[in-house]
């Protein structure tokens, strides 16, 4: 579904992605793991069309996205959960949830969101940046679900969530997958990652250094942790 | 206490990295060479320009630097600095007329008066940041304007304060040319003070406050009090400029307090380069010279020209003259370093 070929990205002179290539098949959940600063977030931003200063091609369902502005990419069914959660200070929670237009076949209704995240319901009229960190994280996730995106780009969606909620998010992603949604997930938590994902890419210094499946990750967990650590 | 909106201010205008720091990091000989060139130009100025215009440049340089001290290094854009410039001008003028103070003392008195009124205004204004601060200072300055206008018995109303004596221990300073050299040391002192403030531990704290006030508070810095102090210091410097201005023209009128004067000071700073300190000096030189030229040119739309320059500067040339030069220089030296 998503295909990235030889993607390089720069911040000014500094190169943070070096000819990274990867592929995500429809209905797959794929994670991107790597150390802090490896370039994971940057890769997602490139896919979303929010990073200027990149080289390489990105295509969705065989269609080249490279020249498309971000809003058109979104309308093709891309949904992004930014790493900073992207809560709007000037919008209430409900407004945050009502803002994105529907872009896919199966958008969540407001009721469904509130059912899944009761905390958001209690805070529905308060400005989104007044939410607690974890609540903002829920909001960011709920917001793309409201769009009904076909391909979710989630940047560390479990960061700052309580263990209980982490499990819930895992359930959510699995459920989305059952409905045919494709997910590209950036995740630090290997345990969580293996729980929801089919395959994994290891990113180091802007390069995709390895692609693994779940069993491989489990069997090499120690080695990987060490690798991610060093 | 600031609001959400305030703290969202985003990128601050004065990027210290663009100008001051670049020069400060330039090799010592570059810095001294620049200083030397600056001094030579300052000493030569009234020979190349009409002396009265040269004196104006001195006053405006101080004024601009005082505005930049707040704008570039504290992130507070005062759109009401005319209040301090004008107040000092009036007080200095009155001190010279009524008490017969020699001019440096009169200027000092004026600057102190500016600092004094900056305390209550600043106390209220620093409660807001960003764009609110600009609007609040603007409004307070306008209030002072009204008061001065009304208080004609003291300020001379719209006739202004006329025939301000300019004297210094019997030396005849009636000639602008000599007055320029009398005013120069005061200006240089003021500029040096601004430089010192920016490059002091205090200045570093200000930059921190500018970038993230909440963090600064968590580090134990009383943000409001720092801002207020910076505000008062800046008002004092603006007051030095205003005091010299009244001495230079030997009179002052309500124009000195009008918001257009505040606006002009900001224009000068933007033109020269925000957050660069010395940019203000260059901007002052250019704008004063330009206005002088325009008023003889027969071209009537002076606002059109200054406005257009300003719009262009803001849209295309945000670093201003000094900032752009510094950026060029640092790119050049970086290129050479490779």
């Amino acid at each position: 579904m998503l295909r990235i070929d030889n993607l390089s990205a720069f911040y000014g002179e500094a190169q943070v992605l070096r000819e990274a290539s990867l592929e995500v098949a429809p209905g797959e959940v794929v994670t991107l793991v790597g150390r802090n600063g490896a370039g994971k977030s940057t890769l997602l931003r490139c896919v979303m069309g929010l990073h200027s200063g990149q080289r390489g091609t990105i295509s969705l369902d065989g269609r080249d996205l490279t020249r498309l502005p971000a809003y058109k990419r979104a309308r093709l069914g891309l949904g992004w959960v930014p790493d900073d959660r992207g809560a709007y200070a000037t919008l209430t929670v409900t407004e945050n949830l009502s803002l994105p237009p529907r872009v896919g076949p199966d958008p969540w209704s407001l009721e469904r969101v509130y059912e899944a995240f009761p905390a958001l319901y209690t805070r529905r009229d308060s400005p989104a940046t007044k939410l607690s960190g974890g609540e903002q994280q829920m909001l960011a996730l709920a917001r793309v679900l409201r769009m009904g995106a076909r391909l979710l780009l989630c940047d560390e969606p479990t960061e700052g969530l309580s263990p209980l909620l982490v499990q819930q998010v895992g359930d959510l992603l699995r459920e989305a997958k059952r409905h045919g949604v494709t997910v590209l997930l950036v995740e630090q938590n290997l345990h969580f990652a293996t729980g929801v994902a089919d395959r994994h890419y290891l990113l180091a210094e802007g390069r995709v250094v390895e692609a693994m499946d779940n069993s491989e990750v489990r069997s090499r967990e120690r080695e990987l942790l060490a690798y991610l650590g060093i | 206490m600031t609001t959400t909106v305030d703290s969202e201010a985003g990128a601050k205008p004065g990027r210290a990295g663009s100008g001051l720091v670049a020069v400060a990091r330039a090799p010592w000989w570059v810095r001294y060479a620049l200083l030397a060139v600056g001094l030579v130009v300052a000493l030569w100025l009234p020979n190349g320009l009409y002396p009265a215009v040269a004196v104006d440049i001195l006053c405006w340089a101080l004024f601009a630097v005082s505005v930049d001290l707040l704008l570039g290094f504290t992130g507070l854009m005062s759109f009401g600095h005319a209040a301090f410039w004008g107040t000092s001008a009036y007080v200095a003028g009155i001190a010279a007329i009524e008490a017969g103070l020699p001019f440096p003392l009169a200027v000092l008195t004026g600057a102190l008066a500016a600092a004094v009124i900056a305390v209550p205004i600043g106390y209220l204004a620093v409660k807001r940041t960003g764009i609110y601060f600009a609007m609040v200072t603007l409004a307070f300055a306008q209030m002072i304007y009204y008061v001065a206008n009304k208080w004609g018995t003291v300020t001379g109303g719209e006739n202004g304060l006329q025939a301000v004596p300019r004297e210094l221990g019997g030396v005849d300073l009636s000639d602008e040319y000599y007055f320029y050299y009398a005013a120069l040391p005061i200006t240089l002192l003021g500029l040096w003070a601004a430089w010192r403030i920016v490059n002091s531990p205090f200045g570093r704290v200000l930059v921190g406050i500018r970038d993230n006030p909440a963090r600064a508070r968590a580090l134990g810095y009383p943000v409001h009090r720092y801002k207020l102090t910076a505000f008062v210091l800046s008002a004092f410097l603006a007051g030095l400029g205003g005091g010299l201005y009244v001495m230079g023209h030997q009179f002052v009128s309500l124009d000195a307090l009008h918001w257009t004067t505040s606006g002009k000071a900001v224009i000068v700073v933007v033109l020269g380069g925000m957050g660069t300190l010395w940019g203000g000096v260059i901007g002052a030189g250019l704008l004063v010279r330009l206005e002088d030229w325009l008023s003889f040119s027969g071209f009537e739309q002076i606002g059109l020209v200054t406005g257009a320059i300003f719009v262009l500067a803001v849209v295309l040339f945000r670093k201003g003259i000094w900032g752009s030069a510094a950026a060029l220089a640092s790119r050049w030296s970086a290129g050479r370093g490779k």
């Binding site: 929010l50 502005p69 971000a70 809003y71 990419r73 979104a74 930014p82 992207g86 709007y88 200070a89 000037t90 407004e95 009502s98 803002l99 994105p100 237009p101 872009v103 400005p127 917001r143 | 206490m1 600031t2 609001t3 959400t4 909106v5 201010a9 985003g10 990128a11 854009m77 759109f79 209220l124 409660k127 807001r128 960003g130 764009i131 609110y132 600009a134 609007m135 609040v136 603007l138 409004a139 307070f140 306008q142 209030m143 008061v147 009304k150 208080w151 006030p213 909440a214 606006g263 739309q301 002076i302 606002g303 059109l304 200054t306 406005g307 320059i309 300003f310 719009v311 803001v314 849209v315």
Partner: protein
Amino acid sequence: MTGFLQHTFDGLVNGAFYALLALGLSVIFGMLRVVNFAHGAFYMLGAMGAYVLLTEFGVPFWWALVIMPVLLGVLGMALERAFVHRLAQLDPLYNFLLTFGLTLILQDLVKSRYGVQSSPYTTPAELGGSVDLGLFDFPTYRVFVLVFAVAICAGVWWLLTHSRVGMVVRAATERPELTRAFGINVGRWVTPVFGFGIALAGLAGVLAAPMRAVNPLMGADLIIVVFAVVVIGGLGSIFGSVAAGFGIGLIQAWGVVYLADWPILSQTLVFIVMAAVLMWRPAGLFGREEAAA
């Protein structure tokens, strides 16, 4: 008593101008985070435009009331495209400075074409008389201004709170990138809102033409008072700005009458009120305040 009511009514009429101007300022600020210094200049353009339409094209007041806001709205949109949006991602101060520069330019352009002398503009004949308001008569035109302004303010408030526009534009201004990532074409929303705010200023200008001196500087000092008004009401709060607009109109009218012996007070009343509000509620009477930081 009649006197008091008369002055009260008069204050409201005067406040109507503050309210309309503050409304436009707040719409632009609330949506785009731009404090439009040129708001007073656009007010002036509205009035000058009405004058030009009348004298050069024979267009009467009623048409001017429609044409000028539309024209200025278009001009506003052009300016937004040309300049304002370029600075949108920087500190809001840049746009403040930009519009300050625009003010100088607009004023001077009009000045060079029409001079600084005030231009004549008379009350439309239909509104020339006076209305009996029970206890006293009042010029019809002033009654019209008041009613019209209240209707506009209410309409705009309704529009912004009951439609998607407000929400989308606020989002687009706060985080344009993210908003784009949600499939929203940011430029398409933001530009018209800016134009709309400018149109409101133009509308106030046309309304002012029959009762105030029409000249290139008519908005220059007014804008500062309007700034004080929005600081009092809470910048960006639509309701707050309108309420403060009318409130300041009232206070000024009363001040002039009842503080006649302290002219220095009555003339600086707005600023005194502003100082008091800053002490007591720095975010303005209706502004949102966050305690932290």
